[in-house]
Amino acid sequence: MIVVNCPHCGPRNSSDLRPCGEVTSRPDPATASLSEWRTYLYMRENPSGWVTEAWYCRSGCRRYFTIERNTATNETRRSEAS
């Protein structure tokens, strides 16, 4: 069980948080084509290595934030509130 550094609470066990996956950019729903929308819904980089992802501090401060995590080593760095 990895440690995730919440920018508000400090380091917490990952069971206190909900992983929200890679950070995505929501297209304008009024103008986005279905293809652009589905890229937003389903397509992810999924690298072996550093990824920018969102977490929700569910049992703690209830804030969403982003961190960078290395998917191969679970090293994390540089937390910024999103």
Binding site: M1, I2, V3, N5, H8, C9, G10, P11, N13, R18, C20, R26, P29, A30, A32, S33, L34, W37, Y40, L41, A54, Y56, R58, C61, R62, R63, Y64, N74, S82
Partner: protein
């Protein structure tokens, strides 16, 4: 019974004054306090302790410690007890495992005669055909091979298991000299220390050492015990190291539970497991009476047990040499002292049930009853592997060494090299200091970055350099196999000949060979056999050991009971403020998610009918409730619901449906406007948490400029639905400050006032059941009073409480769909029968492009009401709707009940658009295989489709 107990030994752990009576296979024995089960039996002359797994060969003491593969026994109702380390307790009923009919005469020994049919991988080659014999014959036979004891389902006397969390700065795995040195030094440096040792006492190999060792042990023990910062756990094992030093410790011998799982987050982990002595591979090496040097030294020095009378010793190292001295002190005749360092060897042991003769490398045969081997040591690198290390084999020292560890894991002691006690303790000390330094730096960082913590007093401690003088890698002969073949994996009955065969069959990588032969996969999990297996494979393939590699060590390091892994089960149950009342009044409990709710009070049909005729009340507290405040709430509602919300007036309520970004219907509920900037949103009870998180997500990450505060009030407001033609009459008696007349309080409006004297209640008119109804939201601390007042005041009006089942019937009669029941994880908005609710011309709604796309489709299923042509038939929910001829699935029944109001069954279902028109005939496939016909109705509501009753 021969009595093998020796006169007093200097370091013995037995209490000769306290005798303990126990039984072994039904026969009475006695031992002394401090004995293990095995040492007590050995003292009493027992030689055979088990039968091996496959060939049922007799087995005796080999290592006399926790890792002995031959000493798994059943103690009372506890299976798989390790007799080599489990302390004897008076009254124990010990028996051999996996023998039939008895340890003495095991019919399975006949397997030895058909050994060539039981070669490695035999279960891939035999018991294949004919297939029909699998259940009756093959399974029965193969079950016989499964090792392990018996579980007594009915009579087990184990208490509940337990767990706890810990946060030591430094966790030391291993309580030998280096481990103790590390613990003391770390504690001196100001770290909190947890010292874990799997034997029942600290000390490691010092315990069976010479006088100097015993003195050093006493000093170290005194230092450990006197330091308040060291928590000592003996008879406990560090079983796994996970990410970021999340560590599992299995604590035994705790007064609360037989096994307790400790989940620790350690700043630093010090791995000091010492070395595990390795068996030697030769013919007959599993015969009772063949022991390792440590075994005889432990038997003699810890428990004063004479292991035999005439010994052959093969030694390759100082520990083997020390065994000779201990044997002589115990009065054992040394018939041959062989030195592997000059090429002397043992080739074979003969004897059934006990060593009788040994054939030596020089051709001599000698009579003996004890063969002692000190041929090598294996580094138990598991925890290091779990930390990402790939240890490297050193042929000069003939063992593996740690290679590369993360900063928060340090190795010390015998696993890193050899040394005197003083050197081991010094290395341990230096390691402990380093471990403490890193852990305290980590603690400093945590204190700085954790909101609740006290800020650190000074600056971050300086990082110490690792200036430890490495322990020596003393040369050791590579002594794995004699010139004959013998047992490699004692638990799995895999011999070196089997490994050669497997390699010859092409299973020639260590990972393949392990899986094909099952070598290293038994209860020992490789501790005694991995290195020998690698050596044999290297031989078979004429390769160097260093190129063979090892298999990957995974947690757990030592077996854990499943009960301990489960620990105390935490299964939260949520109860409304009225649940005690429901239970006291005969409610049948329904578990819905985490909630326990009343399903009915004994007569769901009667309760439902009473709602249509008089007045009923139902506790709907699990309904998700979110208090929304701020100037931008309407914008938020407009975003998350499919309809429009900007113009909802104060005092009005609106129904809304939510879809997710992929256009799938996700939740629904009503939301009322209580004030200028104040709304109350309701959600489905199962969706409450998800909707809350979703609102916070969009507020925090998508529209942080919107001012909205969301507060969950699901439990704080007890929700009571009062429904039926007489409900207004009832409420008139109890509601104050609100004009309840239909003109002043129309359908889908909300008011605030007092009910039964309780202020702060929210009342709205909505209609799930299709009757005139009001939903009260009452501050929970006073809710029971309100409920009881309703019951008392409604008696003459025919009030009855009703539960979830009645509500299901009533809403189905009215054709009201339920998200998650009449829709599923793929249902898009057009299939939820929302009609004009969905506004496709908004600027922004969750899932808007998918909504548009779904409404452009003509192939999506349609939600319809269905009545079976035979009114008595009540289909089951999820019964399929099929094309009568081709059997193609065209839909399913999603909700189904017998309607008390109509006296016939009523359903909702999802059907192919070709069947959606009113009057269409559908074929329903019942679970019993029968097909029945039904008709699609014009409206979803089976009863009062115009909605006259609820708008009264």
């Amino acid at each position: 019974m021969t009595h093998n107990r020796l006169p007093v030994r200097p370091g013995e752990v037995i209490d000769r004054e306290t005798s303990l009576a126990f039984t072994w296979n039904g026969r009475p024995h006695t031992g002394l306090r401090g004995d293990t089960i095995a040492s007590a039996l050995a003292a009493d002359g027992v030689e055979v302790f088990a039968r091996s797994m496959k060939y049922k060969r007799r087995r005796g003491i080999m290592t006399a410690d926790h890792w002995d593969p031959n000493l798994s026994v059943q103690v009372g109702d506890e299976p798989n007890v390790r007799a080599g380390s489990r302390r004897l307790v008076a009254g124990m009923e010990v028996s051999a495992q996996n023998v039939w009919p008895s340890l003495k005469f095991d019919i399975g020994a006949a397997n030895q005669l058909v050994g060539r049919f039981l070669s490695p991988g035999f279960y891939y080659k035999t018991f294949m055909r004919p297939k029909w014999l699998w259940h009756h014959l093959y399974q029965t036979i193969l079950r016989r091979f499964a090792p392990g004891g018996r579980i007594h389902w009915e009579t087990s006397t184990h208490g509940a298991y337990d767990k706890r969390y810990a946060h030591p700065d430094v966790l030391v795995a291993g309580g030998g000299p280096a481990g103790m040195g590390a613990a003391i030094a770390a504690a001196e440096a100001g770290a909190s220390v947890m010292l874990v040792e799997h034997e029942p006492e600290l000390g490691g190999h010092l315990r069976w050492g010479d006088a100097e060792d015993l003195t050093a042990l006493a000093d170290l023990l005194a230092a450990v015990q006197s330091h308040p910062g060291i928590e000592v756990l003996v008879d406990s094992t560090v079983t796994g190291r996970y990410d970021h030093n999340w560590i599992a410790v299995m604590q035994r011998s705790h007064e609360v539970a037989p096994e307790r799982l400790i989940k620790a987050r350690a700043g630093s982990l010090v791995v000091a497991p010492g070395l595990i002595e390795r068996p030697y591979v030769f013919a007959g090496n599993d015969t009772p009476g063949v022991m390792l040097s440590g075994a005889v030294r432990r038997l003699i020095n810890l428990w004063a047990v004479k292991p035999g009378s005439r010994a052959v010793v093969l030694s390759a190292n100082p520990e083997g040499d020390a065994a000779i001295a201990d044997l002589e002190a115990a009065g054992v005749e040394i018939v041959a002292a062989l030195d592997a360092r000059v090429g002397e060897d043992i080739v074979e042991v003969e004897g059934r049930g006990r060593v009788r003769r040994a054939v030596l490398g020089d051709g001599r045969t000698v009579a003996a009853d004890l063969v002692v081997l000190g041929t090598g040591w294996t580094a138990p690198t598991s925890l290091l592997n779990m930390a990402g290390d790939r240890p490297v084999y050193d042929p000069t020292a003939a063992r593996y060494f740690p290679n590369q560890l993360p900063d928060n894991v340090l190795a010390t002691g015998g696993i890193t090299g050899n040394g005197s006690t003083v050197e081991l303790v010094a290395h341990g000390s230096a390691t402990g200091t380093l471990a403490a330094n890193r852990a305290l730096r980590n603690r400093h960082e945590r204190r700085s970055s954790t909101a609740r913590a006290r800020s650190p007093e000074g600056p971050m401690p300086e990082s110490l350099q690792d200036t430890r003088v490495p322990l020596a890698r003393t040369p050791h002969p590579e002594c794995y196999r004699s010139s004959s073949h013998g047992m490699v994996d004692f638990s799995e009955d895999v011999s070196s000949k089997d490994l050669f065969q497997a390699s010859g069959e092409g299973f020639d990588s260590i990972e393949l060979m392990k899986r094909y032969t099952t070598a290293t996969m038994g209860p020992s999990q490789g501790k005694l056999e991995t290195v020998n297996a690698a050596a044999v494979l290297a031989e078979a393939r004429s390769m160097d050991m260093v190129d063979i590699g090892t298999t990957v060590w995974r947690p757990p390091f030592a077996p854990i009971s499943l009960g301990a892994l489960a620990g105390r089960i935490f299964e939260p149950i949520r109860r409304s403020a009225l649940q005690d009342w429901h239970e006291a009044h005969g409610a049948s409990p329904l578990l819905a998610g985490q909630w326990v709710r009343p399903d009915h009070y004994g007569d769901p049909v009667g309760e439902a009918r009473n709602v249509r005729e008089n007045v009923g009340i139902i506790d709907v507290t699990p309904l998700g409730k979110l208090d929304l405040r701020g100037p931008d709430v309407a914008k938020l509602l407009e975003l998350v619901y499919v309809n429009r919300w900007q113009k909802l007036e104060i005092g009005r309520v609106r129904y809304g449906t939510m879809v997710a970004e992929d256009g799938v219907v996700s939740d629904d509920g009503v939301t009322g406007r209580l004030g200028e900037d104040h709304y109350l949103m309701t959600t489905t009870s199962s969706g409450a948490g998800a909707v809350w998180e979703m609102l916070e997500d969009y507020l925090q990450t998508y529209r942080p400029e919107w001012n909205v505060h969301v507060t969950a009030v699901t439990g704080g407001l007890t929700s009571i639905n009062v429904a039926g033609p007489r409900c207004r009459d009832l409420l008139l008696r109890l509601v104050e400050d609100v004009d309840l007349s239909p003109e002043a309080f129309p359908y889908f409006h909300v008011r605030r006032g007092r009910v039964a004297g309780v202020s702060g209640c929210i009342i709205w008119r909505i209609g799930f059941t299709g009757e005139l109804s009001y939903e009260l939201h009452v501050p929970s601390g006073h809710a029971l009073h309100v409920w009881e007042s309703l019951i008392a005041n409604g008696e003459d009006l025919g009030i009855r409480p009703f539960g979830v089942e009645s509500q299901r019937i009533l809403r189905l009669e009215k054709g009201h769909y339920i998200v998650g029941q009449d829709t599923d994880g793929l249902t898009k908005a057009p299939s939820a029968g929302l009609g004009g609710l969905v506004k496709l011309d908004k600027h922004d709604t969750l899932g808007l492009p998918e909504l548009r796309a779904s409404y452009a489709r003509t192939d999506l299923p349609v939600l319809v009401a269905i009545q079976t042509d035979d009114p008595e038939i009540v289909p089951m929910e999820a019964d399929q709707i099929v094309d009568g001829d081709s059997n193609r699935i065209l839909g399913r029944i999603t909700s189904s009940r017998m309607s008390p109001t109509l006296g016939r069954s009523v359903c909702l279902g999802q059907v192919d658009p070709s069947l959606a028109a009113a009057g269409s005939k559908v074929t329903i496939l019942l679970v019993n295989g029968h097909r029945v016909s039904g008709t699609v109705q014009e409206h979803h509501a089976h009863v009062d489709p115009e909605g006259v009753r609820q708008n009264a």
